[in-house]
Assembly symmetry: C2
Homo-oligomer: 305 residues x 2
């Protein structure tokens, strides 16, 4: 999958972690979403089409990496990772709908409403949304009900109007507004940052790390979240649709202000690099057990899709 | 609001309970959904438009009535009732979308995608969906995390692909299929019954009634759920759009099999009445404390909207 001049993820220290989490998330969706063999069949087929076999699995990777730092069982962490990935996937399905971004390509394959139809896409998104909370509420995710309910609360807040969905609304408004850098930053902190922050928080919640003792992790998540979005804007600005697996150049076409339109590509890239250095500094109290988180931070700024 | 020959709800013993729950659910949505004063403003306005000031609040009424039978605090029960109503409202918003039922009227006012736009309707539905789980996860709903997580699990299962969303998928498939009575029954048990059953279950969960000790309540919920749908089919078949507050005659137009098309209106009405008697028999072990549940059962079969 690598080409001249393009950083090859498979050669990075992150390669093993990325391959492992991708396999585990697919296996968990496969286990928890069996085909029902009745008229709901195509709903579950649609959920599986969207949820399995694609995506970087960045949120599960963050969640399981933090959980592993604190000795949480792999099975618990992967289940919670599958829940947050289900939220991410549902948001992509709804975001791709004709009435939203009207995208035909996602992870290099037709979007769900193209492969199936719009009504099925709405329902499959809704079903993955409920599925996420079902998985978190299940005792198999954690034996401790305090932990499970804190996971639900964290994911609910991060994904609703105070988080991701609120950011998506701002993104819709952005097409007809002249947002300044502060507003674009706020938009992205909600649209992308809230769920990345929840991923890191949920890993620490599984380990029963108290809220006050995970301030540095939230700082790390905030910085990589913003850097992630700046790089996304750069990919949209200068990217390769085949490599990105989705349409590019959409922001400029829609007349949206982005980090790139407001800062220019050079300053935007500098800003992303600065944020990544800052994110890594937040992990100073940790030794080699945080190496995967450090590698994730570097990967975010070096990726080209 | 009453007219000659039409049963007047305000004259029934249920009148006080219906008026009270309507006021309490509106007040709770009002409290928990403050306008944010930024670019997310219209998202929260859309959530409030859809969630407040309309609907029979049947699910919160069932939940709070069961909770009250077992002495649960009113505040806890109303919060849980607001959560299940948020799920019901989100499902109506998405069901009304052009790619689904394409309805322009709901509770006598324009549907959300007409009053706002389609993208806002998708996001407001998604936001009410997450909101439901946020409300349940909040310690204000119950001090006991076991109770809160059981509420989340029950509502998640009832609303996802194994419940309501699965039933909605079957309903879409129904337009191009010749469903028999057994399949229509299964469809309706999922589409409407699952959430009505969850309402009754959640009231009992708040009261820490063990699963085995609420079999009769689930029987009650199953019977009123089916009766409710038969009456809905009768309203669609013979109803008055102005009274129903939504379009009628849609099932026949869509070529869908319903209880009325399969049984005929007479047998369908007999079946609904039989189910209601059966539902009331499930409450035989209860004294006057279950009178509201008995009245709800009778109201379901007597209503004309």
């Amino acid at each position: 999958m690598s080409a001249a001049g393009i950083p090859d993820v498979t050669a990075s220290p992150l390669a093993g972690a990325l391959a492992q989490i991708a396999q585990e998330i697919d296996a968990t969706f496969d286990m928890l979403l069996p085909l029902p063999g009745d008229a709901r069949q195509c709903l579950v087929e649609a959920m599986r089409y969207a949820a399995m076999g694609g995506g970087k699995r960045l949120r599960p990777l963050l969640l399981t990496s933090v959980a592993e730092m604190y000795g949480v069982s792999r099975d618990s962490a992967v289940r919670a990772g599958t829940a947050i990935e289900a939220i991410h996937v549902y948001s992509l399905i709804h975001d791709d709908l004709p009435c939203m971004d009207n995208d035909a390509l996602r992870h290099g394959k037709p979007t769900l409403h193209i492969a199936f139809d719009e009504a099925t896409a709405v329902l499959a998104g809704d079903s993955l949304h409920a599925f996420a909370f079902e998985v978190l509420a299940d005792p198999a995710t954690s034996a401790d009900p305090f932990t499970r309910i804190e996971l639900v609360q964290t994911l609910g807040q991060a994904s609703g109007w105070q988080g991701m969905a609120g950011g998506q609304m701002m993104d819709l408004v952005a097409e007809n507004s002249e947002f300044d850098l502060q507003t674009v930053t706020r938009l992205q902190q909600l649209k992308t940052g809230a769920l990345l922050g929840a991923a890191v928080d949920m890993g620490a919640i599984l380990a029963k790390v108290p809220y006050e003792a995970r301030t540095h992790l939230r700082g790390y998540a905030r910085d990589i979240g913003l850097a992630f979005q700046i790089v996304d804007d750069l990919i949209d600005y200068e990217g390769d649709a085949a490599l990105a697996g989705k349409a590019v150049g959409k922001d400029a076409a829609a007349g949206k202000e982005t980090f790139v339109s407001l800062l220019g590509p050079e300053r935007a890239r500098d800003q992303a690099r600065m944020l990544i250095e800052q994110a890594i500094q937040h992990l100073a109290q940790h030794g080699p057990e945080a190496d995967v988180l450090r590698a994730v931070a570097r990967y975010i700024v070096e990726r080209n899709h």
